[in-house]
Each structure stands twice: as C-alpha cells, then as structure tokens.
C-alpha cells in the first residue's frame, strides 16, 4: 500500500503569496484554491508538475530541498547527476571542470544518471514482448506523468511499464558497486541532483516501490550556482577529476524529447508538456487512437530541459547536449563505466521490476455510487445559480469547482461574489456579512484601505 499522504516538494511561501490566482488557473488537476488570501495545494490531487511555480508572478512557490550538509553523514557520497545539468553551462566550461567542482563540494563520486540507459532499453524490449496484451505501453520515466495517470486516468495505470526509471537503476548500480568495494550500506549515501519537483516526490514517496534507492535530493539550480561561482572565482583546488567523462549519444539524448521513443520499434510517440499529454491520454482512454506501441510522455515543455529547476534557456541547453552527443558519435571514445555496468547487468535486470501502481482517482464524488449520484444532482442544481464565467473570485478555479467544493463541504455557495451581491440586494445577508465572507477568501489585508499614492 502506498501512503495515504503524498510528499510534495513544492511549497507555498505564505508570506510572499499574494493570492493572485495565477497558479490556481493553470493547475492541470485543479489542485489549488485560494483561502485567506493564500494559495492552498490539495496534496491528493497535486502531481508535482511545477506549472504553478512557473505561473507565479512573485516567486511564492518554491521547491524545498534537503539540507546539503546531510551528505556528510555518509562516508561515501555519490552525486547522481541528470544529463541536463551539463547542458546548463556555457560552452567554455568543460565537463571536467564541472565534475571537479562537484567533488570539491564534498562528494566522493560523481555519476551521470543516464549511464545505465542501455540496461533499461534492454529490459523494456523484453517487457513489451512479454506483456504485449498491455499495449500501448506508457513509459514510467516522468514521475509527474505517472501521478497524473494515477489521479486522472486510473483506467490507464496498467499500461505504464512496470520497470524502474533509469535514476533508480543507476542508484542501484552504484550502491552495489560500492558494496562490492567493501563499504557498508549505511556508509553509502546516494544523492540525486534534480531538475524538477516531480523527481523529489518520486524519491520521497515512491510509486510501486517500498523504499527509494536514493538518500537525498539536491536542487539543480543550487549546484549550478555553486559550480559557476567556483569557476568564476577560480576557487577549484586543482582539477581533481582526471578521466574524461563520456556517455553514448543514446544516453545523452535520453531525457530530451524523443530520447526514449526513438529506441523502440513499432509505432512510438514522444509527447511533451502536460496539457499535450492530457489531450493524448483522453484520446487513448476513448480508444480514439489505437495501434500505438509506445508512448513517451513528459510533463515539461521540451522534457527535462524545461524542468522547473533548470536555469539555462531550454533550446540552448538542448543544443549543447546534442553537440556533446555528436562529439561522442564522431570520436567513439572508450567508456570505462560502460564496461563496468556490463558486469552488473544481470544483477540490475533481476531487480528492475516495480510492484503495482495503484490508481487513486481524484474525480469520484463519493465511493458509494448512490451518494455520488446525489452529489452530482446537487452540483448541477448549484451550477444553475452560479454565473458560469469562471472568474475565480470565490477562490476556486471554475464555477464547477466551487459547486463541487460546496457539495463536498469544503466551501460555501456565498463565496461566489455574484451570489453575494444578489443576496445583499434582496436583504438576505447584510453588507457586513458579505464583506466578512470575502475576507475569508481573500484575507484581511486585501481589504485594507489603499491610498492611490502609496507604492
């Protein structure tokens, strides 16, 4: 059983939030309401896509990270880097330099997550052959998409490929490798540098696994700033990292759009950006599209190059990664790690499956169908008196959402400003009552007198 409560790294900083409703209106799962003038995220509905963070005009939504110094609780400190990290830096900063600074920060090993991609593609091919009745297959790559399917498309859950994403395979590999070198389990700390909030959620409340293979997460923008600062100030103590790091073109392209879909035969589609994904999932559910073999679905525009914790423009980052892949392709360097992974391939393949992924629909009005019907009738009645313009002034994203909240006992009809006006006019509530209701939604400060000359 998965936990009833889900960890989310996205937090609303209450002091900064101005309750402007921007985030509420973009959330693809309608997880946000404004209460007391502050955005409030429903933990059961949020899928950690980061749309709200991108929409916030005052940066009130942040991605919480683990305290960096926690890495020193471990003797062996492995930094697992996403490939997009190297795409963040300008061309004149070498991979060697970046690796060296990361070691300087206190890590004992640096490892790029996508180095084990080969193991996953092999396992995926076998999986698709063995479970062909579950076609179309949906990749488990993006945790925001896995969660989206759980909450909004529960019927499609079984199409998700029940294999570990590459980040977990790499963590497994590195841990086993260090174990074989003689280190004890609690001496090994594996830390993932994340480009998004979804990967943090995946580490803190894993889906289909009992425990995560990763000990902590560090936000990518944090590492980016540290590296750049150190290089600009010439602080790096000698180049520690001696070997040139190389990855195959396939591994480098993995997190970019079409990185997975291009690896399999049959009809494979790559779709990025969460609204595009929702559109396709709707069609898939109706069987409006048939005969698809594999779907690569990613929440961010241009996949992980567009993650919320990236700093570089996504197009420039992609260009840099493509160049790196092309360089590899022309020069075909020997990759030491690849040989090493070969030894572990049987072990990794053996441990690559995940358990069932539970659907957890946020759509049903009640577990009891008769109750749900009653509620639906009530909602339809309420909708008849609401204005239907989705203004958001009640603190819900749409009139429909307010009606649902009312029926679920989470809101009052009088939160609707139109109703308030009507009721006041008819003398059913006093102007003071109407004012109090608005203060509940928008917070007390909202209605303090403002002077036109104030800033």
């Amino acid at each position: 059983m998965e936990k009833a409560h889900f960890y989310h790294a996205l937090k609303v900083v209450e002091k900064v939030c101005i309750g402007c409703t921007h985030c509420m209106n973009v959330c693809p799962t309608s997880a946000i309401r404004v209460k007391n003038g502050i955005a409030d995220i429903n933990k059961n509905a949020c899928v950690d896509c980061g749309e709200c963070l991108n929409a916030c005009p005052v940066n009130a939504i942040i991605v919480e990270q683990d305290d960096f110094s926690q890495i020193f609780h471990f003797k062996q400190r492995v930094a697992l880097l996403p490939t997009v990290l190297l795409g963040q830096f300008p061309d004149d900063i070498s991979e060697k330099q970046i690796y060296s600074v990361i070691l300087d920060l206190g890590f004992t090993h640096v490892y790029e997550v996508d180095e084990t991609v080969d193991v996953l593609t092999e396992a995926t091919k076998t999986y698709m052959k063995k479970n062909h009745q579950d076609r179309p297959f949906i990749s488990s790559f993006c945790p925001a998409i896995v969660r989206l399917i759980q909450v909004k498309f529960p019927a499609l859950v079984e199409h998700i490929i029940h294999l570990k994403p590459v980040i977990d395979i790499s963590a497994l590999f590195y841990r086993e490798k260090l174990r074989n070198e003689g280190f004890l389990d609690d001496e090994i700390g594996i830390f993932y540098v994340t480009p998004c909030a979804a990967k943090i959620a995946a580490v803190k409340s894993p889906v289909g696994e009992d425990n995560s293979f990763i000990d902590g997460v560090i936000n990518m923008d944090f590492i980016y700033n540290k590296v750049l600062l150190s290089i600009k100030q010439n602080k790096t103590v000698g180049i520690k990292y001696e070997i040139d790091k190389h990855m195959s073109r396939r591994s480098i392209g993995w997190t970019l759009t079409n990185g997975e879909a291009s690896q399999y035969s049959g009809r494979c589609l790559a779709i990025d950006e969460i609204h595009n994904v929702i559109e396709v999932l709707e069609k898939l559910e109706n069987e409006e599209i048939r005969d698809i073999d594999f779907l690569e679905l990613r929440a961010c525009d241009h996949s992980c190059a567009g993650g919320v914790l990236t700093t570089e423009n996504r197009f420039l980052a992609i260009e840099r990664l493509r160049k790196r892949g092309d360089w590899y392709h022309r020069n075909k360097p020997i990759i030491l790690e690849e040989k090493e992974i070969e030894e572990y391939r049987p072990y990794l393949l053996e441990n690559i499956s995940i358990k069932s992924i539970e659907p957890r629909s946020i759509l049903s009005l009640d577990t009891d169908m008769m109750e749900a019907m009653k509620k639906m009738e009530k909602i339809n009645r309420i909708l008849k008196v609401l204005p239907g313009i989705d203004c958001g002034a009640c603190g819900a994203p749409r009139c429909q959402a307010l009606a649902e909240d009312v029926v679920q006992g989470k809101a009052k009809m009088t939160q609707c400003v139109f109703l308030q006006k009507m009721l006041t006019k008819e003398g059913l509530i006093t102007p003071q009552e109407s004012f109090d209701i608005s203060e509940n939604t928008w917070g007390i400060k909202r209605f303090e007198k403002k002077n036109i000359n104030d800033h």
């Binding site: 709707e282 559910e285 109706n286 069987e287 629909s361 759509l363 009640d366 009891d368 169908m369 639906m376």
Partner: protein, 137 residues
Amino acid sequence: MEFTFFIEGGNFSKAGTASSEVKKILKQLNVDAKIIKRTVVSLYEAEVNVVAHAFEGNMIVEIFPDKIVVRIEDKGPGIPDIDKAMEKGFSTATPKVREMGFGAGMGLPNIKKNSDQMNISSTVNVGTQLEIVNYLK
C-alpha cells in the same frame, strides 16, 4: 439520472466530445474503471457513426444504480441492412470518411463487443436508434 448530448453531423473535429462528457460523469460517479472504458469505447464508436452518416443526433444517457443505458438517436439515411452492417469489416463509411481515419469497419461489431446489450433499429431515410446497456455489477 439523465443527460442529453447533441451530436452534430459532419463535424469530425467535435467527434468524441459527447463520449468524453459521459466519461467525466462516470468517473465522478466512481464507476469501475473497466466498465467506464468499455462504455466509452462503444459510445465513441457510435458517436462517430452519427457524425459520419447522419445529419444530427442525440446521445441520451441514463444512469441507474445497476446499469447505464445509452440511446443514440439520429436523423439520417438509416441503415438498410442491419445484419450486413453487423458483419465484421463492413463499413458504410464513404472513402472520404475512411481516409480521415474514421469508420474503418470497426463500427457496430466493436460496439457490440464493448457492451452487455445492444439493440438497434433503423428506418431508411428517417434515422437510426441504437441502445447500449452496460451493467455496473
């Protein structure tokens, strides 16, 4: 509980809206995901049939504690030979419609496959009534 959705003939860009609306309702009512899937697949098929062949139609959905009954009634040319239309691979779709990826002969047999009961009656030059029943338990 009853809902009615209008289906516009000839407008393929809207084909599927009525079935998607029904899907949303069934999800809200906590109907089993597999039953939703079957129902929606057959409704989508029926909806596209109306769009492809009829002038207009209505999808009338009735939800009972134990079953979903959907009637799709259209005004159009009707089906002259229902038995033939029930044969696998038979399609009355014009080549143009087929080019658009609709009506590839999946129509009625696929609806039958995805419903517990299917009744159909048709009058040439008047229209077709299709009833689909799916049980909830």
